[in-house]
C-alpha cells in the first residue's frame, strides 16, 4: 500500500492508503476526500481533480500528456507550475507519501 496526503485549503490534512496503481483522483473519491470531484471518471476530460503537488515530489512525477496539458488550462482554480490532474498520477513506491494541496474550487 502507498499513502497519499491531501491538504485542504483550510490546512486540514487527510492521509489515505491505497493499492499501488490507484490514481490520486480515485484515492480521494473512494475515501471521501473533499474537493476532488473526478466527474469524467479519470479520462482527463473534465479538469475536476486538479491538485497542486508539493515541489519535493516533482522529480518523481511522470510528464503530463498532451491531453492532461490542455486540460490543465481549463481548471477552475488557477493553474500553477505545481498543477496536475489527480487522475493522471498513480500511487507507487517512488511517490509513496506524496502530499498534494486541494484547490479551493474544482467547478
Amino acid at each position: 500500500m502507498n499513502t497519499v496526503t491531501f491538504i485542504q485549503p483550510s490546512g486540514a490534512p487527510a492521509t489515505v492508503s491505497v493499492e499501488p496503481g490507484t490514481s490520486l483522483m480515485r484515492a480521494a473519491v473512494t475515501n471521501g476526500v473533499d474537493g476532488i470531484v473526478g466527474e469524467c471518471g479519470g479520462q482527463a476530460m473534465c479538469a475536476t481533480c486538479h491538485v497542486y503537488v508539493r515541489p519535493e515530489f516533482a522529480a518523481a512525477l511522470p510528464e503530463p500528456s498532451d491531453d492532461e496539458e490542455e486540460m490543465l488550462d481549463c481548471t477552475t482554480a488557477e493553474r500553477t507550475e505545481l498543477s496536475r490532474l489527480g487522475c493522471q498520477i498513480k500511487a507507487c513506491a517512488e511517490l509513496d507519501g506524496i502530499v498534494v494541496d486541494v484547490p479551493a474550487e474544482q467547478v
Binding site: V29, E39, G41, M45, C46, M71, Q106, V107
Partner: protein, 434 residues
C-alpha cells in the same frame, strides 16, 4: 416548425422510454424482467415504491414537481408509465454513473440501436473506450481553442445577423439557436457535403425513430431515409479526408482502424446529441436570464459570469434529463433492490435539483455556491461534447448576443413554451429588441 423534444408523442430517443401509457409491454414483450414482485424481496433493503401516479404527459409538461415528490419519497421508483425504474436522487444517480460494471449502457431492446446503429453511447468499456478514443482530439479544449472557436464566432455572427434581419418578434430558438448549433456541428463532424438544414432534419428524424415505440411506419421510413443519407454522406467524405485532412471527426476517423458500421453509428449518435443539446441550453439559459433581469444585469457587468450562467442552466434544466442503464446483476441502490436486468432511467434532471446537494434547487441562481452537477453525465460516458458546448454557448454565443441586443426581452404579446423531460428545451421563444 419542428419540435425539439420528441418525448411526448413518439417516446424517447436517448432513453428508450415509450411514448404513452400502456404501450410499453406491446413494444417490449420481454421487458418484464425488471418489474418488481417477480423476484421475492429479502434482507436489509426494500422494494422500489411504485409511482403509478406518474404519467408521461405530466412529465412532458413539467417534470420538476413530480421529481420533487418522488425524491421526497425514495431515490428510486418503479414507474409503470415509463416501464422502468426512475432514479431521482443525486447520490443514487452518481453511484450509477461511477459503476458501469453493475449498470450497463448496453440496453436490451434499445430502439436507438435500430434507428442509429449500435453507437458507443450504448456500449460498455472496453469496447466503448476504443470508439471514444477514435474521436481523438477533435472535441478537446486545445483543438477548440486553436481551431473551432474562430469558426463558431463566424457562424454566430452569421446567424445573429439573420436573427436581426428577421426583425423584432423572431423566434430565438428556430431563427437563431437551432441553425447556429447545427452549423457548428456540421463543421465539427466534417459534413462538407451537407447543409445545416440537413443536420437538423437528420437529427430530428433519427431521434423520432429512436423513440418510435408506436412502430409508426412513416416514422421508420423517415428515420431510415436520414440514416441512409448520413451513410452516403460519410461514404463520400471519408476518401476526401484521406487526401484533405482537417480537424473534424470524420477526418480523424478516415485514417483509423474503426469499422465503418461503428463510424456510422457514432456519427448518428453525435448528430442526435450534438445539435439539440447546445441549442436547448442556449435557449434555456437566455430565457432564464430574461426572466431574471437582476442576474442578467450582473452578468452584463461581469462577463466572467457567462460561464456560471451556462453551468447553472445545465444544472437547473438538464437538456438531457434522463438516460438509460440496465442492471447487470441483482443489486441494492441507496437501500432499494434492483434485480438483474432491471431497466433504469438515470434522471439527472431530478438529481440536479436534489436539495441534499443544492440549496433552493428549484431556483435559477447564477450566484449559487458552485457544486458539481450531473448535467453532462459522469464516469466513462461523460459528455464528449462538454467543451464544445461550453465554448459555443457560454464563450461565443451569449456575450455576442447580449452585446448586439442589450435590450433583448421575451415578447410580452406572444407565448413562450418550455417542455420535455427526457429532452427539455424551449419550443417557442419569440423575442423583441429595440
Amino acid at each position: 416548425m419542428t419540435t425539439p423534444d420528441t418525448t411526448q408523442s413518439p417516446g424517447c430517443p436517448f432513453s428508450g422510454v415509450p411514448a404513452d401509457n400502456g404501450s410499453a409491454e406491446a413494444a417490449f414483450p420481454g421487458a418484464a424482467a425488471g418489474v418488481p414482485g417477480t423476484i421475492p424481496a429479502a434482507g436489509e433493503f426494500r422494494e422500489a415504491p411504485v409511482a403509478d401516479w406518474v404519467t408521461i404527459p405530466d412529465l412532458y409538461r413539467d417534470p420538476f414537481p413530480i421529481y420533487r415528490r418522488m425524491r421526497e419519497e425514495a431515490p428510486v421508483h418503479w414507474v409503470p408509465a415509463v416501464n422502468r425504474y426512475m432514479v431521482t436522487g443525486y447520490a443514487a444517480c452518481h453511484t450509477i454513473e461511477q459503476d458501469d460494471a453493475t449498470f450497463s449502457a448496453d440496453e436490451t431492446g434499445s430502439l436507438m440501436k435500430r434507428s442509429m446503429g449500435h453507437s458507443m453511447l450504448r456500449k460498455d468499456d472496453p469496447e466503448h473506450r476504443v470508439e471514444r478514443d477514435s474521436y481523438g482530439s477533435t472535441l478537446r479544449p486545445g483543438t477548440i481553442k486553436n481551431h473551432w472557436k474562430a469558426l463558431f464566432e463566424a457562424n454566430n455572427e452569421k446567424y445573429l445577423r439573420e436573427l436581426e434581419a428577421k426583425g423584432s418578434g423572431a423566434d430565438f430558438v428556430w431563427d437563431y439557436a437551432a441553425p447556429y448549433a447545427a452549423e457548428n456541428l456540421r463543421l465539427v463532424c466534417g459534413f462538407h457535403n451537407a447543409t445545416q438544414q440537413d443536420l437538423q432534419r437528420w437529427s430530428q428524424t433519427m431521434i423520432d425513430g429512436t423513440g418510435n415505440y408506436a412502430d409508426d411506419a412513416d416514422v421508420w421510413e423517415k428515420s431510415a431515409r436520414s440514416s441512409a443519407e448520413v451513410d452516403a454522406a460519410i461514404d463520400e467524405m471519408l476518401p476526401y479526408f484521406r487526401k484533405n485532412p482537417d480537424h473534424s471527426l470524420l477526418s480523424g476517423l478516415a485514417s483509423m482502424p474503426i469499422p465503418l458500421e461503428a463510424i456510422r453509428a457514432n456519427l448518428k449518435m453525435t448528430i442526435g446529441g450534438g445539435l439539440n443539446e447546445p441549442r436547448d441550453v442556449l435557449g434555456t439559459t437566455v430565457w432564464a436570464l430574461l426572466e431574471n433581469p437582476d442576474q442578467l444585469a450582473s452578468l452584463q457587468e461581469d462577463p466572467k459570469l457567462h460561464a456560471a450562467a451556462f453551468e447553472e442552466s445545465v444544472r437547473w434544466v438538464a437538456p438531457i434529463g434522463m438516460y438509460p442503464r440496465e442492471a447487470t446483476r441483482d443489486t441494492v441502490l441507496e437501500g432499494i433492490r434492483l434485480p438483474k436486468g432491471a431497466r433504469i432511467g438515470v434522471v439527472i434532471g431530478a438529481a440536479n435539483r436534489d436539495p441534499a446537494v443544492f440549496e433552493n434547487p428549484e431556483t435559477y441562481n447564477i450566484h449559487r455556491p458552485r457544486k458539481p452537477h450531473l448535467g453532462f453525465g459522469g464516469g466513462t460516458h461523460f459528455c464528449a461534447g462538454t467543451w464544445v458546448a461550453r465554448t459555443q454557448v457560454a464563450q461565443v454565443a451569449m456575450p455576442a448576443l447580449f452585446d448586439r441586443f442589450p435590450r433583448l426581452r421575451l415578447d410580452p404579446s406572444a407565448e413562450t413554451v418550455d417542455a420535455g423531460w427526457v429532452f427539455r428545451g424551449m419550443l417557442k421563444m419569440p423575442v423583441r429588441w429595440d
